[in-house]
Every structure is written in C-alpha cells, then in structure tokens.
Symmetry: none
Subunit: 212 residues, 4 copies
DNA sequence: CATGAATGAGGATTCATTCAT
DNA sequence: CATGAATGAATCCTCATTCAT
C-alpha cells in the first residue's frame, strides 16, 4: 500500500545504454504488475527478470510507486492511441459506428492482455497514480464524437443518448468481457474462453445494442 | 524438518463463542481484502481489527488463501441471492425487464460496495478459489430466463439475442460502472462520482439499450 | 499470490567483505546446529551471533536447509581430510595400524567436538542433505586400505575380516565414545568424562581388538 | 530447548479410561520424538495422532520436557530389561559370550528402531532428563559381569580388559551400526541397509573381536 | 476426565529500500 | 552507469501453553 513519504523522483536515462536498461525494466514491470497486482509484484523479481541490479530501478523510477505510475501512464497512453486510430473513419461509417467501435475495443484487449489488469489495479488501489502525462489536443474521443453527432442527426442514434453514455457502454462491455471471462464463464454456464462462443456473443450484443 | 505443504484446512467453530469469533474474522477479512487486494491485505491487520489473536484465523480458515476462499464463496452466494430477489417479477414486468434489472444491479453494487472488488480480485489472481457450493435449485437466473423468453415472444426483445448476451450486457455495464468510476471520470470528462450524473447515465443507457 | 516453493539457492559471495560475512555465518551456524540440533537451532540466533542481518543468511544459503547442507558437506570434507592425514604411514606402521587409527579417531573427535553432533543430526533427519561433492581421487581410505591388506598378508589381521569391517569397528567405537559419554557414564557406572578413565578405556579396547 | 521454569509435574492417571489415554499419548510421543527429535516433535501432532485433546498431555505429563522425560526413562528401562534377558546364559555360553551379546544387541535395535534415536536425542540435548526411575537390584549387567569374569579366568578374554571396556565395545558397535547406517553407507561404499551385507559385517566383526 | 477457545512469543522467510564501491 | 552487500520492518505462519466450560 501507499507509503506516505518524500516523493523520490527517478532520473531520466540519458545514455543509450541507460535508456535500454530503463526500457527493459519498464517492460518487465508492466508484465509483473499485470500478473501479480500492485502488492504482489516484487522489485527483486522485476530486477531479476530484467537482468539488472535492482538499484537501477530506484535510480530510474524513484520507488515502487513511481514505477507503477509510469506503467499506469503508459497504459493510459495506449488508450489514447487506440482512440486516434479511429481517425480513418468517415461519414460512410456512421451507421455502423457502434459495432466498429465494439469490435475494435474487443480486439484491442485481445492484443493488449495486460491492459485491463493495469486498469483494474489502479482502480483497486484508489486511483492514486494520476492522470495521463501528455496533454491531449482537444477533447478525448474528438473524432468519434463528431461522427456520433452525425449519426444522431441522421437518426441512427437516439438524440437523448449522450456520446458519453454511448462510449461508456461500449467501453464497459468490452472491458468487462476481458476482465471477467473466468468468473462469468462459471456464472453464466457458457464458456467465454472459447473463441466461437465469444464471436457469437459479440454478434448478439451488437444486435441488441444497434440492431435494426 | 522438511515442510510438507499440507493443505491446512480450517476447523468449524462449534461453540457459540467460537462462531462469533469466526464471524468477526470473516467480516473484517471481507472488508480488508476488498480494500487492499489479496496481497495488500494483512493477516495481522485483520486479526487486530477483529480484536482476536491471529492464530484463530489459522485455526478457523487454515491460511490466507483459505480465508479468501471463504470470502469469495460468500460473495458468490450474494450473487445468487440477488438473483432470487427477481422472483417477484411477473408478466406485467416483461416490457420493462431490462431497465428493472439494470436498476437493480446498480443498486446492488451501491449497497454492496465490496462486491465488485472481491470479484475483480479473484479474477486478478486467476480464479483459483473455486466455484460456489452450488446447491442451487435448477439453472441460475431461472425465473429471469422465463420472463426474457416471454419478452422475446412478444417482440420486446430480439429473438436472436440469447438470454446470456442480454444478461451479460446488463451485468457488465453495472459492474464496470462501479469498478471504474474513478478512472472513467478522468477519461470521459464527466463526474461519475456525482449521483445526478449517475442517474442521467443510467437513464441514457436504458434508452440506448431498450429505448422506444 | 500462490507460493511456488522454488528452491532458493544461495548466491556466492564475490567481494572480500561478502566472503567474510558468509564465513562468519557458516562458523556460527555450525556451532549452533551442533549445539541445538536442526530444529533447535534458530536463524535469528545465528544472525545475531554472527553479527549480521539475517537476510544475509537467506542471500547466501537460500534457506535453513541450505545452510545446514553446507555445514553437513563441510563436515564430510573434514572426514576426508582426516583420512588423507594417514598418508604418512608406511610399512613399518602396519602392525600397529589398528591402534594408530583408533587413537587418531579419538583425537579427531576431541579436536572437532561438533563433528559427531552434525553427523548424528544428519542421521536423525534422515540423511537428506546429500553426499559430498566427492572430487575425491580414487576410493575413500585409499592408503589405509593398502596398509591393511599388507597387514592381512603378514597375518597381523584376519584374512576373513574385510577392510570395511575393520574400519567400521574403529569408526564406530570412537564415534560412539564421543557421542555417548554422558549416557554411558550413567549406564556403566564409570566416569567417561574423566580423561584418565578415557585413556585406560582406549588402552583396554586396543588390547581387546588387536592385543597379542 | 529447555525452558527454565517451575517444574510442572503431571498427575498420575487413576481411572481405567485415564490410563488408556495416558498410554496412547505415551506411545505416540515416543514415535514422534524418535522421528523428529526433541524440537521437531510437536505437541499438537502428538495430541492429534493420539486422538485426544492436547490439554490431556499437560494434565498427565506437565509439559513437553516432562513428556520426553517419561519417554527417556522408559527407554532406559528397555535397556535394563534387555540386560535381564541374559539371565538364561550359563557357564557353557562363556566362550561365545561376546558374539551372543553382539548378536543380541543388533537384534534389539532391529526390534526397537526408536531406541537409538531417543538415546541420541537425549545425548544431543545434554542429558538433562535424568537417570532411570526404578532403582536396580544390584549392579547393572550383574549376570554378564560374572560370566565375563569366568571367561577371563578361563583365558577366553584378556585379563587386562575390564568388563566395562568389553561391554562398551559391543554396545558401541551395535548402536553405531543402527544410528549411522545411512551415512556410513555413503562413506564406506557398501550398502549397510542391505540385510545380507549386514549379516556379513556382523560375522566379520565377530571374527575380528573374538576370532580364532 | 475431557475439550474447544484463546494467546504471547516466537520462527522462518521476504520486502522495499539504502549503502559502499 | 552499474552492482554486490546490507538492513529494518514486516509478513505469514506455528508453537507450547493456559483458560473456560
């Protein structure tokens, strides 16, 4: 748990060798935090897996909290990058916007299996590791917002459903799917770990949300 | 001597006094695990807050894992009890089934704030604490299933959307809401911690899912 | 997280300072195990007497078992060194070989009072700490074996008594003497702790075994 | 290790049921101490294996030390009983006295595998559990002493080898054999755990000690 | 005689973090 | 930049022993 103490900021790695070390630590740390949780992750293990002396971790990241903060911020960056990927969508995609986003979110989680874990961990410890570092140009979800507004105008989407609600549902469903596969498989009695079951579920959810 | 990692099962408390102690441990443990996560929760703290000698924890629950297993199983029981509460619903509720369930789930999380945390923690550690002692009568969600089928027949709900998909979406949204209030507030730029914002969001999601 | 009883091997101390620490731990540990037995010896006590932080013990030896293993292996090495000391014996010593060895063994135990204790402890716990790193040249007892064979040829020793039996008796008597002084003093009614009594006993045993 | 404290003597069991309980505790305790050593043996385990509440142990034996004291005293009694069994020997056995005793001692250890362990443990903890309770009629080894004296007169045994030395060697060899099977097997390179190897060794030792 | 509940003092092992080189 | 040595404060778990019924 969080220690109240003088915030020891890490230093930036300046040499090439230093940066490589720092990156290795970062990658291993992400995997470890995702796998074991904040308290379950061990500095010793991270150092060993990164093949470096643990003192390096303290030099670059200050302390365990500082290390997780970096991991968390990078996780947020991933989220924003995912968003920017929607820049290619155009007017013709408006009718299918919902299913495109849902699909895309599901795929995103597939290819970033540690994402939801870091997210959930940060929520568990109380969201104490701050907001993203890089200030965004304009609002988040800028382009999607416009497309959704178009869709509302064209009556594909309900005028009384805000973009926030719309995106919240899509984010929630995909995130929940990924993070609760195991327990929901037991609860619902269908095997969410099976990919064909998953495909069918997506299909049906799409129909439920945006179907005709 | 060599340690044989014998799975130390806890004993049942047989006297009244013993049962009271066991219960106190259990309640404190639930709160601690929910607040700190599996690794973050400390046996010493639980013992202290329960006002008992920590050895009692080992006597009654075997070890930390055994203690969490009990907490987890009880959490699952809550889930099933929630389900049974829908027994009162009748045919007249079919048109509004979706919003009733969504509302109910949101309320459930409000009154059991530790629920999602225990759930998420179990997912994080890999679902190793077992399934419920399911002495359940019939399928889970028995009654809701029937009502939903009625609704499909009456064309309130799409014939091609299975009950599982329907309930998955509702469960997912409510759970995600509760567990990601903090980070989604930052991400979306609207304050999900504010109860009027929450009400509006529920309203809009209802409209999105079942509107008109 | 679930504990995977990974066999934590200790690391080698590489710096001069590190080696000194490791040695200090080792010496104190030998004394403690000898004095208190495997379970009776306490890591905390060893650390304190060695004047180091107990974590060092785990860093260098892995765990208590690993520490005892080192102690045990070193004890075995002592045994082999003792053997090599017989290298000086020559043909002229053949007639007195038995008494020379017996004397030598008794002296050995006198100057290594912890030896039999470590040996007995290892036997008590079931011999689970492995054999020596035997980088031995040829058979154990190499030279003695040859001398004994000579003695058999010259009819000082019975042709039908193998070297193993011969050495077993000598080893057994000396070891038993050392390890059972206390209880045998009570049992036999003579004070084996008194050195003149001891001398006389050795004399008599010598006569019994090899006399005329 | 020994606690310095008010000696809490256990009470005698008076009822039939009480005596049965006491005996069960005693038997289990002997086995546990023999198997695990003084510090390795656990009161809880003894209670569980004896199928009684551990409070009984304290009622009957005072404390752990008191329990071991009983075990130790009984072990000594066994020794004396073994001795009394030689009462049957007569003048005609004098020439073979040595081999008869050796054989008998080896057999004794075979049928009382816990004996040497209790003995060694008592030696390890420093012989603090006292001498045997029942005062012996006359000297220990009474009858054997006489027979040996006869043997000396008849020149089967050296006049200058006291009975104590004679019996010490026999006791030592048999005891050492039993207690060091494991490690001596490694050291000598012959498998002392194999019964035919054992038989041969006894044969040879007999020849060495009393041969011709 | 018998037992379940309770406890204080350990006891092995680990952790995040700092020091010295 | 990099590392091995070192440490104090946990952290889980156990033990002998006592209490209350």
């Amino acid at each position: 748990m969080a220690k109240l103490k003088t915030k020891r900021e890490g230093i930036e790695a300046s040499s090439v060798r230093g940066r490589a070390t720092r990156d290795r630590i970062f990658r291993v740390a992400t995997a470890e935090f995702a796998a074991k949780g904040y308290d379950g992750a061990r500095i010793d293990v991270i150092a060993e897996k990164a093949g470096i002396n643990k003192q390096r971790i303290y030099a670059y990241f200050g302390d365990k909290d500082g290390l997780f903060t970096e991991v968390w911020k990078h996780t947020l960056d991933l989220l924003y990058e995912e968003d920017s990927q929607f820049g290619d969508l155009g007017e013709q995609d408006v009718p299918n916007l919902g299913r495109i986003i849902l699909k895309s979110y599901m795929d995103f989680h597939d290819s970033h299996p540690e994402f939801w874990r870091i997210f959930v961990i940060e929520n568990l410890v109380g969201g104490r590791h701050g907001r993203p570092s890089r200030r965004r140009k304009g609002q988040p979800y800028g382009h999607l917002r416009e497309l959704y507004a178009m869709g509302q105008k064209k009556e594909f989407y309900d005028k009384n459903v805000s973009f926030e609600a719309f995106i919240f549902v899509l984010t929630g469903i995909s995130s929940f799917y990924t993070s609760n596969k195991k327990t929901m498989t037991d609860t619902l009695g269908i095997n969410l770990l099976d990919s064909s079951v998953k495909e069918r579920l997506i299909e049906e959810m799409d129909r439920m949300l945006f179907g005709k």
